[in-house]
Protein backbone atom coordinates (compact mmCIF):
# COMPACT_ATOMS: atom_id res chain seq x y z
CA UNK A 1 0.00 0.00 0.00
CA UNK A 2 1.36 3.39 -1.02
CA UNK A 3 0.36 7.03 -1.45
CA UNK A 4 -2.63 8.72 0.13
CA UNK A 5 -4.26 5.35 0.71
CA UNK A 6 -1.39 4.28 2.99
CA UNK A 7 -1.35 7.63 4.78
CA UNK A 8 -5.05 7.36 5.54
CA UNK A 9 -4.83 3.66 6.44
CA UNK A 10 -2.32 4.42 9.20
CA UNK A 11 -4.24 7.55 10.28
CA UNK A 12 -1.19 9.63 9.37
CA UNK A 13 -2.71 13.14 9.43
CA UNK A 14 -4.23 12.59 12.88
CA UNK A 15 -0.91 11.26 14.18
CA UNK A 16 1.01 14.22 12.73
CA UNK A 17 -1.41 16.79 14.17
CA UNK A 18 -1.48 15.05 17.54
CA UNK A 19 2.31 14.79 17.60
CA UNK A 20 3.13 18.39 16.83
CA UNK A 21 0.33 19.57 19.17
CA UNK A 22 1.65 17.54 22.10
CA UNK A 23 5.23 18.70 21.46
CA UNK A 24 4.09 22.32 21.45
CA UNK A 25 1.80 21.89 24.45
CA UNK A 26 4.47 20.19 26.56
CA UNK A 27 7.12 22.77 25.71
CA UNK A 28 4.75 25.72 26.19
CA UNK A 29 3.81 24.44 29.64
CA UNK A 30 7.51 24.05 30.43
CA UNK A 31 8.29 27.54 29.12
CA UNK A 32 5.53 29.10 31.23
CA UNK A 33 6.68 27.33 34.38
CA UNK A 34 10.35 28.13 33.82
CA UNK A 35 9.66 31.78 33.01
CA UNK A 36 7.88 32.14 36.37
CA UNK A 37 10.54 30.21 38.29
CA UNK A 38 12.78 33.13 39.21
CA UNK A 39 9.77 35.17 40.27
CA UNK A 40 8.56 32.32 42.45
CA UNK A 41 12.01 32.08 44.03
CA UNK A 42 12.05 35.84 44.60
CA UNK A 43 8.63 35.57 46.23
CA UNK A 44 9.90 32.75 48.44
CA UNK A 45 12.92 34.80 49.48
CA UNK A 46 10.72 37.80 50.37
CA UNK A 47 7.77 35.89 51.74
CA UNK A 48 7.77 37.89 54.98
CA UNK A 49 7.44 41.12 53.06
CA UNK A 50 4.53 39.73 51.02
CA UNK A 51 2.97 38.23 54.11
CA UNK A 52 3.06 41.56 55.90
CA UNK A 53 1.56 43.26 52.86
CA UNK A 54 -1.20 40.68 52.70
CA UNK A 55 -1.91 41.15 56.42
CA UNK A 56 -2.20 44.89 55.89
CA UNK A 57 -4.60 44.38 53.00
CA UNK A 58 -6.91 42.09 54.97
CA UNK A 59 -6.86 43.98 58.27
CA UNK A 60 -9.90 46.27 58.79
CA UNK A 61 -9.20 49.99 58.36
CA UNK A 62 -10.38 50.97 61.91
CA UNK A 63 -7.98 48.52 63.48
CA UNK A 64 -5.05 49.73 61.45
CA UNK A 65 -2.87 51.93 63.60
CA UNK A 66 -2.18 55.39 62.33
CA UNK A 67 1.03 55.26 60.35
CA UNK A 68 3.84 57.20 61.86
CA UNK A 69 4.63 60.40 60.09
CA UNK A 70 7.14 59.53 57.40
CA UNK A 71 10.61 60.82 57.94
CA UNK A 72 12.94 61.55 55.08
CA UNK A 73 12.37 58.59 52.74
CA UNK A 74 15.96 57.77 52.21
CA UNK A 75 17.21 57.93 55.73
CA UNK A 76 18.00 54.22 55.48
CA UNK A 77 19.61 54.10 52.08
CA UNK A 78 21.34 50.84 53.03
CA UNK A 79 18.06 49.04 53.51
CA UNK A 80 16.66 50.56 50.29
CA UNK A 81 19.77 49.46 48.41
CA UNK A 82 19.45 45.93 49.77
CA UNK A 83 15.78 45.65 48.79
CA UNK A 84 16.17 47.17 45.32
CA UNK A 85 19.26 45.01 44.75
CA UNK A 86 17.15 41.87 45.37
CA UNK A 87 14.50 43.22 43.04
CA UNK A 88 16.99 43.92 40.27
CA UNK A 89 18.29 40.34 40.58
CA UNK A 90 14.76 39.12 40.06
CA UNK A 91 13.83 41.23 37.05
CA UNK A 92 17.24 41.00 35.38
CA UNK A 93 19.44 43.62 33.79
CA UNK A 94 19.21 45.95 31.96
CA UNK A 95 15.87 47.17 33.29
CA UNK A 96 13.63 50.15 32.67
CA UNK A 97 12.88 52.55 35.55
CA UNK A 98 9.08 52.38 35.21
CA UNK A 99 9.23 48.59 35.46
CA UNK A 100 11.53 48.72 38.50
CA UNK A 101 9.31 51.26 40.26
CA UNK A 102 6.15 49.31 39.44
CA UNK A 103 7.64 46.10 40.82
CA UNK A 104 8.97 47.92 43.89
CA UNK A 105 5.48 49.29 44.58
CA UNK A 106 3.96 45.85 44.05
CA UNK A 107 6.10 44.24 46.71
CA UNK A 108 5.45 47.04 49.16
CA UNK A 109 8.63 49.12 49.15
CA UNK A 110 7.43 52.46 50.42
CA UNK A 111 8.02 55.61 48.38
CA UNK A 112 9.41 53.59 45.51
CA UNK A 113 9.80 56.64 43.28
CA UNK A 114 11.87 58.62 45.76
CA UNK A 115 13.87 55.55 46.76
CA UNK A 116 14.85 54.78 43.18
CA UNK A 117 15.55 58.44 42.49
CA UNK A 118 17.82 58.55 45.55
CA UNK A 119 19.69 55.44 44.40
CA UNK A 120 20.26 57.06 41.00
CA UNK A 121 21.65 60.20 42.66
CA UNK A 122 23.99 57.98 44.68
CA UNK A 123 25.13 56.13 41.55
CA UNK A 124 23.73 52.77 42.64
CA UNK A 125 21.55 52.73 39.54
CA UNK A 126 23.37 53.82 36.40
CA UNK A 127 22.20 54.28 32.79
CA UNK A 128 23.43 51.79 30.17
CA UNK A 129 23.35 54.41 27.37
CA UNK A 130 20.68 52.49 25.48
CA UNK A 131 17.77 53.88 27.46
CA UNK A 132 17.89 51.20 30.17
CA UNK A 133 19.56 51.04 33.56
CA UNK A 134 22.02 48.77 35.34
CA UNK A 135 22.69 48.01 38.99
CA UNK A 136 26.10 49.24 40.19
CA UNK A 137 27.07 46.29 42.38
CA UNK A 138 30.43 47.82 43.36
CA UNK A 139 28.80 50.98 44.70
CA UNK A 140 26.24 48.85 46.51
CA UNK A 141 28.94 46.69 48.14
CA UNK A 142 30.83 49.81 49.17
CA UNK A 143 27.73 51.29 50.75
CA UNK A 144 26.86 48.11 52.64
CA UNK A 145 30.46 47.85 53.87
CA UNK A 146 30.31 51.41 55.17
CA UNK A 147 27.02 50.62 56.86
CA UNK A 148 28.58 47.64 58.65
CA UNK A 149 31.58 49.67 59.76
CA UNK A 150 29.37 52.47 61.10
CA UNK A 151 27.41 49.96 63.12
Amino acid sequence: MKGIEAVLYYDGPAMAVLGISVVFMALIVLAVIISGLHRALFFWDNKKLYFNKACLMFSSPEKTPEPAAPGPYFDDIHESARQINLLVHAIGEPFSLPRLIRRAENIGISHAHSTVSHLIVNNLIVPDRKGYFLWNQQACDRLLRQSKENR
Binding site: M1, Y10, G12, A16, G19, I28, I34, H38, L41, G92
Partner: protein, 374 residues
Protein backbone atom coordinates in the same frame (compact mmCIF):
# COMPACT_ATOMS: atom_id res chain seq x y z
CA UNK B 1 44.75 -32.42 1.49
CA UNK B 2 41.14 -32.39 2.74
CA UNK B 3 42.26 -30.31 5.68
CA UNK B 4 43.90 -27.85 3.30
CA UNK B 5 40.73 -27.48 1.19
CA UNK B 6 38.66 -27.21 4.34
CA UNK B 7 40.92 -24.39 5.53
CA UNK B 8 40.68 -22.67 2.13
CA UNK B 9 36.87 -22.86 2.35
CA UNK B 10 36.98 -21.27 5.79
CA UNK B 11 38.96 -18.22 4.63
CA UNK B 12 37.34 -14.94 3.73
CA UNK B 13 38.69 -15.14 0.18
CA UNK B 14 36.65 -18.24 -0.58
CA UNK B 15 33.46 -16.63 0.71
CA UNK B 16 33.69 -13.14 -0.72
CA UNK B 17 30.38 -11.57 -1.72
CA UNK B 18 30.10 -8.37 -3.75
CA UNK B 19 27.56 -6.87 -1.33
CA UNK B 20 29.92 -7.45 1.58
CA UNK B 21 32.74 -5.75 -0.30
CA UNK B 22 30.50 -2.76 -1.08
CA UNK B 23 29.68 -2.43 2.61
CA UNK B 24 33.40 -2.60 3.47
CA UNK B 25 34.06 0.23 1.00
CA UNK B 26 31.26 2.25 2.63
CA UNK B 27 32.81 1.49 6.04
CA UNK B 28 36.24 2.65 4.84
CA UNK B 29 34.70 5.81 3.36
CA UNK B 30 32.97 6.65 6.66
CA UNK B 31 36.23 5.92 8.47
CA UNK B 32 37.95 8.41 6.14
CA UNK B 33 35.24 11.04 6.85
CA UNK B 34 35.59 10.51 10.58
CA UNK B 35 39.39 10.65 10.71
CA UNK B 36 40.42 12.93 7.84
CA UNK B 37 37.41 15.27 7.70
CA UNK B 38 36.66 15.04 11.45
CA UNK B 39 32.91 14.52 10.83
CA UNK B 40 31.56 13.42 14.23
CA UNK B 41 34.72 11.29 14.70
CA UNK B 42 33.76 10.00 18.15
CA UNK B 43 30.85 8.16 16.58
CA UNK B 44 31.79 7.69 12.95
CA UNK B 45 35.08 5.93 13.76
CA UNK B 46 33.52 3.14 15.90
CA UNK B 47 30.48 2.92 13.58
CA UNK B 48 32.59 2.57 10.44
CA UNK B 49 34.89 0.07 12.13
CA UNK B 50 31.84 -1.92 13.20
CA UNK B 51 30.68 -1.92 9.56
CA UNK B 52 34.06 -3.26 8.49
CA UNK B 53 34.13 -5.97 11.16
CA UNK B 54 30.71 -7.49 10.43
CA UNK B 55 31.00 -7.43 6.67
CA UNK B 56 34.01 -9.72 6.44
CA UNK B 57 32.89 -13.04 4.99
CA UNK B 58 32.02 -15.50 7.80
CA UNK B 59 32.58 -12.80 10.43
CA UNK B 60 31.61 -14.35 13.79
CA UNK B 61 31.19 -11.04 15.62
CA UNK B 62 27.39 -10.83 15.27
CA UNK B 63 26.80 -14.58 15.30
CA UNK B 64 23.83 -15.81 17.32
CA UNK B 65 24.53 -18.40 20.03
CA UNK B 66 23.72 -21.89 18.75
CA UNK B 67 24.40 -25.53 19.61
CA UNK B 68 25.60 -24.51 23.06
CA UNK B 69 28.23 -22.21 21.57
CA UNK B 70 28.27 -18.60 22.71
CA UNK B 71 27.43 -15.88 20.19
CA UNK B 72 29.76 -13.18 18.87
CA UNK B 73 31.02 -10.28 20.96
CA UNK B 74 29.01 -7.67 19.10
CA UNK B 75 25.89 -9.81 19.35
CA UNK B 76 26.03 -9.43 23.13
CA UNK B 77 27.00 -5.77 23.04
CA UNK B 78 24.07 -5.18 20.68
CA UNK B 79 21.71 -6.20 23.49
CA UNK B 80 22.39 -2.75 24.94
CA UNK B 81 20.66 -1.23 21.93
CA UNK B 82 18.00 -3.88 21.59
CA UNK B 83 16.99 -3.46 25.22
CA UNK B 84 17.09 0.35 24.97
CA UNK B 85 19.99 0.75 27.43
CA UNK B 86 22.68 2.74 25.57
CA UNK B 87 20.71 5.76 24.24
CA UNK B 88 19.33 6.78 27.66
CA UNK B 89 22.81 6.43 29.17
CA UNK B 90 24.21 8.63 26.38
CA UNK B 91 21.48 11.12 27.26
CA UNK B 92 22.70 11.10 30.86
CA UNK B 93 26.15 12.06 29.60
CA UNK B 94 24.66 14.80 27.41
CA UNK B 95 22.72 16.13 30.40
CA UNK B 96 25.87 16.20 32.51
CA UNK B 97 27.71 18.05 29.74
CA UNK B 98 24.97 20.59 28.94
CA UNK B 99 24.45 23.98 30.53
CA UNK B 100 20.73 24.76 30.38
CA UNK B 101 21.19 28.38 31.57
CA UNK B 102 20.50 29.97 28.13
CA UNK B 103 17.18 28.13 28.05
CA UNK B 104 16.28 28.95 31.65
CA UNK B 105 16.98 32.66 31.17
CA UNK B 106 15.06 32.77 27.88
CA UNK B 107 12.41 30.02 28.13
CA UNK B 108 10.40 31.22 25.14
CA UNK B 109 13.13 29.72 22.95
CA UNK B 110 11.61 26.34 23.84
CA UNK B 111 9.01 27.19 21.20
CA UNK B 112 11.75 27.23 18.57
CA UNK B 113 12.77 23.76 19.75
CA UNK B 114 9.16 22.67 19.36
CA UNK B 115 8.71 24.20 15.89
CA UNK B 116 11.81 22.46 14.57
CA UNK B 117 10.19 19.10 15.32
CA UNK B 118 7.63 19.74 12.55
CA UNK B 119 10.05 18.12 10.09
CA UNK B 120 9.63 14.84 11.98
CA UNK B 121 5.88 14.72 11.53
CA UNK B 122 5.95 15.96 7.92
CA UNK B 123 8.43 13.20 7.05
CA UNK B 124 6.29 10.67 8.91
CA UNK B 125 3.51 11.34 6.39
CA UNK B 126 5.92 11.18 3.44
CA UNK B 127 7.31 7.82 4.57
CA UNK B 128 3.81 6.38 4.99
CA UNK B 129 3.06 7.50 1.43
CA UNK B 130 6.20 5.71 0.22
CA UNK B 131 4.91 2.43 1.56
CA UNK B 132 6.71 2.09 4.90
CA UNK B 133 4.68 0.88 7.89
CA UNK B 134 3.75 3.34 10.63
CA UNK B 135 6.48 2.01 12.95
CA UNK B 136 9.15 2.25 10.23
CA UNK B 137 7.95 5.73 9.22
CA UNK B 138 8.18 6.94 12.83
CA UNK B 139 11.69 5.55 13.21
CA UNK B 140 12.86 7.15 9.96
CA UNK B 141 11.19 10.52 10.53
CA UNK B 142 12.88 11.02 13.91
CA UNK B 143 16.09 11.68 11.93
CA UNK B 144 14.57 15.17 11.46
CA UNK B 145 15.21 15.80 15.15
CA UNK B 146 18.95 15.55 14.38
CA UNK B 147 19.45 13.65 17.59
CA UNK B 148 21.50 10.46 17.21
CA UNK B 149 20.64 8.71 20.50
CA UNK B 150 16.92 9.45 20.07
CA UNK B 151 16.97 8.11 16.50
CA UNK B 152 18.76 4.95 17.66
CA UNK B 153 16.43 4.49 20.63
CA UNK B 154 13.29 4.83 18.56
CA UNK B 155 14.47 2.65 15.69
CA UNK B 156 15.68 -0.06 18.10
CA UNK B 157 12.20 -0.13 19.64
CA UNK B 158 10.16 0.25 16.44
CA UNK B 159 12.16 -0.88 13.41
CA UNK B 160 15.35 -2.71 14.45
CA UNK B 161 15.98 -3.86 10.86
CA UNK B 162 16.39 -0.19 9.80
CA UNK B 163 18.64 0.73 12.72
CA UNK B 164 21.87 0.76 10.69
CA UNK B 165 20.60 2.99 7.91
CA UNK B 166 18.78 5.33 10.31
CA UNK B 167 21.73 5.84 12.62
CA UNK B 168 24.19 6.32 9.76
CA UNK B 169 21.81 8.89 8.23
CA UNK B 170 21.24 10.66 11.56
CA UNK B 171 24.93 10.98 12.40
CA UNK B 172 25.90 11.89 8.83
CA UNK B 173 23.41 14.76 8.76
CA UNK B 174 24.46 15.90 12.23
CA UNK B 175 28.02 16.07 10.93
CA UNK B 176 26.83 17.93 7.84
CA UNK B 177 24.89 20.59 9.77
CA UNK B 178 27.35 23.34 8.67
CA UNK B 179 26.68 22.38 5.04
CA UNK B 180 22.93 21.71 5.15
CA UNK B 181 21.60 24.49 7.38
CA UNK B 182 23.14 27.79 6.12
CA UNK B 183 21.42 27.79 2.67
CA UNK B 184 18.03 27.16 4.29
CA UNK B 185 18.67 29.88 6.89
CA UNK B 186 19.70 32.43 4.25
CA UNK B 187 16.81 31.53 1.99
CA UNK B 188 14.20 32.19 4.65
CA UNK B 189 15.62 35.35 6.25
CA UNK B 190 16.41 38.85 5.04
CA UNK B 191 19.77 40.47 5.65
CA UNK B 192 18.12 42.91 8.04
CA UNK B 193 16.75 40.03 10.11
CA UNK B 194 20.11 38.26 10.17
CA UNK B 195 21.76 41.40 11.48
CA UNK B 196 19.50 41.70 14.54
CA UNK B 197 21.47 41.87 17.78
CA UNK B 198 19.75 40.30 20.76
CA UNK B 199 19.70 41.71 24.27
CA UNK B 200 21.99 40.14 26.83
CA UNK B 201 20.58 37.18 28.77
CA UNK B 202 20.04 37.49 32.50
CA UNK B 203 22.16 35.36 34.79
CA UNK B 204 20.46 32.34 36.29
CA UNK B 205 20.76 31.40 39.94
CA UNK B 206 22.03 28.03 41.11
CA UNK B 207 18.62 27.25 42.60
CA UNK B 208 16.94 27.80 39.23
CA UNK B 209 19.42 25.46 37.55
CA UNK B 210 18.82 22.78 40.19
CA UNK B 211 15.04 23.10 40.00
CA UNK B 212 15.00 23.01 36.17
CA UNK B 213 15.63 19.25 35.69
CA UNK B 214 13.18 18.42 38.46
CA UNK B 215 10.46 20.58 36.86
CA UNK B 216 11.10 19.14 33.38
CA UNK B 217 10.70 15.63 34.75
CA UNK B 218 7.57 16.50 36.70
CA UNK B 219 5.94 18.07 33.63
CA UNK B 220 6.99 15.59 30.95
CA UNK B 221 6.66 12.59 33.26
CA UNK B 222 2.95 13.26 33.69
CA UNK B 223 2.44 14.43 30.10
CA UNK B 224 4.31 11.64 28.40
CA UNK B 225 5.70 8.80 30.53
CA UNK B 226 7.10 7.12 27.40
CA UNK B 227 9.60 10.00 27.03
CA UNK B 228 11.00 9.32 30.51
CA UNK B 229 13.80 6.89 29.56
CA UNK B 230 15.45 9.62 27.47
CA UNK B 231 14.36 12.76 29.30
CA UNK B 232 14.73 11.20 32.74
CA UNK B 233 18.35 10.29 32.09
CA UNK B 234 19.03 13.67 30.43
CA UNK B 235 17.74 15.48 33.46
CA UNK B 236 19.45 13.15 35.94
CA UNK B 237 22.77 13.91 34.25
CA UNK B 238 22.02 17.62 34.42
CA UNK B 239 21.04 17.37 38.08
CA UNK B 240 24.40 15.65 38.80
CA UNK B 241 26.07 18.63 37.16
CA UNK B 242 24.12 21.40 38.84
CA UNK B 243 23.34 20.19 42.34
CA UNK B 244 26.96 20.67 43.44
CA UNK B 245 27.12 17.59 45.69
CA UNK B 246 27.65 14.86 43.08
CA UNK B 247 30.74 16.10 41.26
CA UNK B 248 32.18 12.59 40.97
CA UNK B 249 29.00 11.22 39.44
CA UNK B 250 28.80 14.19 37.09
CA UNK B 251 32.37 13.63 35.92
CA UNK B 252 31.76 9.89 35.50
CA UNK B 253 28.62 10.55 33.44
CA UNK B 254 30.44 13.12 31.32
CA UNK B 255 33.62 11.11 30.75
CA UNK B 256 34.10 7.45 31.64
CA UNK B 257 30.54 6.20 31.31
CA UNK B 258 29.78 8.35 28.29
CA UNK B 259 32.93 7.27 26.47
CA UNK B 260 32.36 3.58 27.17
CA UNK B 261 28.77 3.76 25.96
CA UNK B 262 29.81 5.72 22.85
CA UNK B 263 32.26 2.92 21.96
CA UNK B 264 29.64 0.18 22.52
CA UNK B 265 26.93 2.14 20.72
CA UNK B 266 29.07 3.06 17.74
CA UNK B 267 30.45 -0.44 17.27
CA UNK B 268 27.09 -2.16 17.53
CA UNK B 269 25.30 0.35 15.29
CA UNK B 270 28.01 -0.29 12.70
CA UNK B 271 27.61 -4.02 13.26
CA UNK B 272 23.94 -3.71 12.32
CA UNK B 273 24.98 -2.38 8.89
CA UNK B 274 25.39 -5.72 7.22
CA UNK B 275 24.92 -5.81 3.45
CA UNK B 276 21.68 -7.75 3.83
CA UNK B 277 20.02 -4.91 5.75
CA UNK B 278 21.89 -1.92 4.34
CA UNK B 279 22.16 -2.34 0.56
CA UNK B 280 18.49 -1.89 -0.18
CA UNK B 281 16.28 0.69 -1.88
CA UNK B 282 14.85 1.47 1.56
CA UNK B 283 18.27 2.70 2.71
CA UNK B 284 18.41 5.21 -0.13
CA UNK B 285 14.88 6.35 0.72
CA UNK B 286 15.89 6.70 4.38
CA UNK B 287 18.96 8.76 3.46
CA UNK B 288 16.95 11.03 1.15
CA UNK B 289 13.98 11.54 3.45
CA UNK B 290 16.19 11.87 6.53
CA UNK B 291 17.74 14.84 4.75
CA UNK B 292 14.28 16.18 3.86
CA UNK B 293 13.18 15.85 7.50
CA UNK B 294 16.26 17.73 8.62
CA UNK B 295 15.75 20.54 6.09
CA UNK B 296 12.05 20.88 6.95
CA UNK B 297 12.92 20.97 10.67
CA UNK B 298 15.47 23.72 10.08
CA UNK B 299 12.99 25.68 7.95
CA UNK B 300 10.12 25.47 10.47
CA UNK B 301 12.50 26.52 13.25
CA UNK B 302 13.58 29.59 11.26
CA UNK B 303 9.97 30.40 10.38
CA UNK B 304 9.00 30.24 14.05
CA UNK B 305 11.99 32.53 14.70
CA UNK B 306 10.53 34.98 12.18
CA UNK B 307 7.17 34.89 13.93
CA UNK B 308 8.86 35.55 17.28
CA UNK B 309 10.87 38.34 15.67
CA UNK B 310 7.66 40.05 14.52
CA UNK B 311 5.88 39.41 17.82
CA UNK B 312 8.68 40.94 19.88
CA UNK B 313 9.16 43.93 17.61
CA UNK B 314 12.47 42.74 16.20
CA UNK B 315 14.14 41.61 19.43
CA UNK B 316 14.66 37.98 18.30
CA UNK B 317 17.06 37.07 15.51
CA UNK B 318 15.19 34.42 13.47
CA UNK B 319 18.44 32.58 12.71
CA UNK B 320 18.42 31.04 16.19
CA UNK B 321 15.31 29.09 15.16
CA UNK B 322 17.55 26.84 13.06
CA UNK B 323 19.19 25.66 16.29
CA UNK B 324 15.86 24.10 17.28
CA UNK B 325 17.01 20.89 15.62
CA UNK B 326 18.90 19.32 18.45
CA UNK B 327 22.38 18.82 16.99
CA UNK B 328 24.10 20.22 20.11
CA UNK B 329 26.14 22.41 19.89
CA UNK B 330 26.84 22.25 16.15
CA UNK B 331 23.68 24.00 14.96
CA UNK B 332 24.10 26.77 17.57
CA UNK B 333 27.60 27.34 16.18
CA UNK B 334 26.18 27.50 12.66
CA UNK B 335 23.74 30.23 13.79
CA UNK B 336 26.69 32.16 15.21
CA UNK B 337 28.68 31.79 11.97
CA UNK B 338 25.79 32.75 9.66
CA UNK B 339 24.81 35.71 11.87
CA UNK B 340 28.36 36.99 12.06
CA UNK B 341 28.76 36.97 8.28
CA UNK B 342 26.20 39.78 7.98
CA UNK B 343 26.98 41.51 11.25
CA UNK B 344 30.51 40.83 12.54
CA UNK B 345 29.68 42.26 15.97
CA UNK B 346 26.79 39.85 16.43
CA UNK B 347 27.21 37.03 18.99
CA UNK B 348 24.30 34.62 18.69
CA UNK B 349 25.92 31.52 20.17
CA UNK B 350 24.47 31.76 23.68
CA UNK B 351 21.04 32.77 22.36
CA UNK B 352 21.07 29.81 19.97
CA UNK B 353 21.96 27.39 22.77
CA UNK B 354 18.46 27.96 24.22
CA UNK B 355 16.54 26.51 21.24
CA UNK B 356 19.33 23.98 20.74
CA UNK B 357 18.84 22.32 24.12
CA UNK B 358 15.09 22.93 23.73
CA UNK B 359 15.36 20.83 20.58
CA UNK B 360 16.88 17.94 22.56
CA UNK B 361 13.87 18.00 24.87
CA UNK B 362 11.51 18.44 21.89
CA UNK B 363 12.85 15.49 19.92
CA UNK B 364 12.73 13.25 23.01
CA UNK B 365 9.09 14.31 23.49
CA UNK B 366 8.37 13.56 19.81
CA UNK B 367 9.92 10.10 20.24
CA UNK B 368 7.80 9.60 23.36
CA UNK B 369 4.65 10.43 21.37
CA UNK B 370 5.46 7.79 18.75
CA UNK B 371 6.19 5.24 21.46
CA UNK B 372 2.95 6.06 23.25
CA UNK B 373 0.61 6.10 20.26
CA UNK B 374 1.98 3.54 17.77
Amino acid sequence: MDKFFYFINQTGFANIEVSGLVMMVIGLFLLYLGIAKKYEPLLLVPISFGILLVNFPLSPLMAQPENGQPGGLLHYLYLGIELGIYPPLIFMGIGALTDFSPLISNPKTLLLGAAAQAGIFATFLAMLALGFTDLESAAISIIGGADGPTAIYLSSQMAPHLLGAISVAAYSYMALVPVIQPPVMRLLTTKKERMIEMRELRETSKRERILFPVIVILVTGFFLPTALPLLGMLMLGNLFRECGVTDRLSKAAQNELNNIIVIFLGLTVGAKCSAYYFLTVETIQILVFGLVAFIVGTATGVLMGKIMCRATGGKVNPLIGAAGVSAVPMSARVCQTVGQKDNPSNFLLMFAMGPNVGGVIGSAVAAGIFLAVL
